[in-house]
């Protein structure tokens, strides 16, 4: 299950320099990162493979979540299949002294799934990013306008995705 699709290369450096999780946790993550089976005991095979009990698998997973090594355990949703076809990346030019309060306000919008401060560059002067998922571009635009009014900043762009080239989730 941990094998990459054929068209991806796994560089040797990746194999040498691992993430900092202990070996058993790393094995566990690799066994389930592509998704568990929908059965009565989805962790049974994984427990067998690791030579530990299912209770231990569950305890390890909970510890990984507790330790914030796993953000959450749950479903990744195909938003296109649910009709969330508009994916707008809001990019904002926020005065540096306003970033903190503005970021909190932006994050409070339900339609905003991700909100990050990133470094501005000469070629791309924006320093705040909000991902907005909606059922239409018009809805996204309306959300961005509401955010703009709330934070009192009009210097932004909404950059829509035209095509999903890859969506996979992070794997180790």
């Amino acid at each position: 299950m941990s094998e990459n699709p054929e068209n991806e290369k796994t560089n040797e450096i990746t194999n040498e320099k691992r993430y900092s999780v202990d070996e058993a946790d790393e094995k566990l993550i690799r066994l389930i990162q592509d998704g568990i089976e929908f059965t009565h005991s989805p962790f049974e095979k994984c427990a067998e493979e690791l030579g530990i009990s299912e209770d231990e698998v569950v305890a390890r997973l909970k510890a990984l979540i507790e330790g914030k090594k796993i953000r959450r355990f749950g479903a990744s949703i195909g938003h296109l299949a649910l009709g969330f076809t508009a994916n707008g990346m809001g990019v904002w030019d926020i005065p540096p002294d306003k970033v903190e309060e503005t970021g909190k306000k932006m994050a409070s919008f339900d339609e905003v799934s991700h909100c990050y401060e990133r470094p501005p560059t000469p070629d791309w002067p924006y320093n705040m990013y909000t991902m907005i998922h909606c059922r239409s571009q018009e809805e996204c635009k309306a959300v961005a306008e509401r955010i703009s009014k709330t934070i009192g900043i009009t210097n932004y762009q909404l950059v829509f995705s035209e095509r999903e080239l890859k969506k996979k989730g992070v794997r180790i």
Binding site: I13, K17, F38, I70, F73, I77, L82, R135, R163, L165
Partner: protein, 203 residues
Amino acid sequence: MDAKNAAEVKDAVDAKNAADAKGAADAKDTAEVKNATDTKDTADAMKNRPVGLPAELDEIDRKLINLIQLRFPVSKHPFEEIAAEIGTTEDIVISKLTRLKNEGVVRRIGPIINTRGIGGTNTLAAVKVPDNQIEKAAAVINKYAEVSHNYLRNENYNIWFTVSAPTQERLDLILSEIQTELDCPLLNLPTVKQFKIQVNFHV
């Protein structure tokens, strides 16, 4: 179907048609198109459904989808617990989830890894490539297992992707290899501060 839903469906169909037209225009080199898009998940999202229309969901589907995103029980028999919570049987939960997976609504149920939490690093990057180079660029970028998301966007910087790697060296190497191979301007926009990450599609 009320007017709002009709409008949404129309938007979805328009978007799909636009995507199809774009696909057809790009398809002069079909093999390249096939390689360029990491199609497994994306294709899954499109299969077994009427073209361009969202999956049809009943009340149990909706409850399931809302629950399994943020409150999936980490336990020995999670589907049994879910069934008890939404008032149905485990068999129904499993058959519903299997259908939702086949329709691309559920991509997977598993751990969402926190790259920085396990000592790794990540970034958002963008490249500015000519329109006729998009398929090649997508293939060059997608071949890295460390690239998790990649989108074509309507901007000068037109390809936007996220990279997660165990070390800064590895991340920098990937970006420099991509920039060298594509010979185009590249933005590297690592997170300065994360204010929110809460992906939740409420249905």
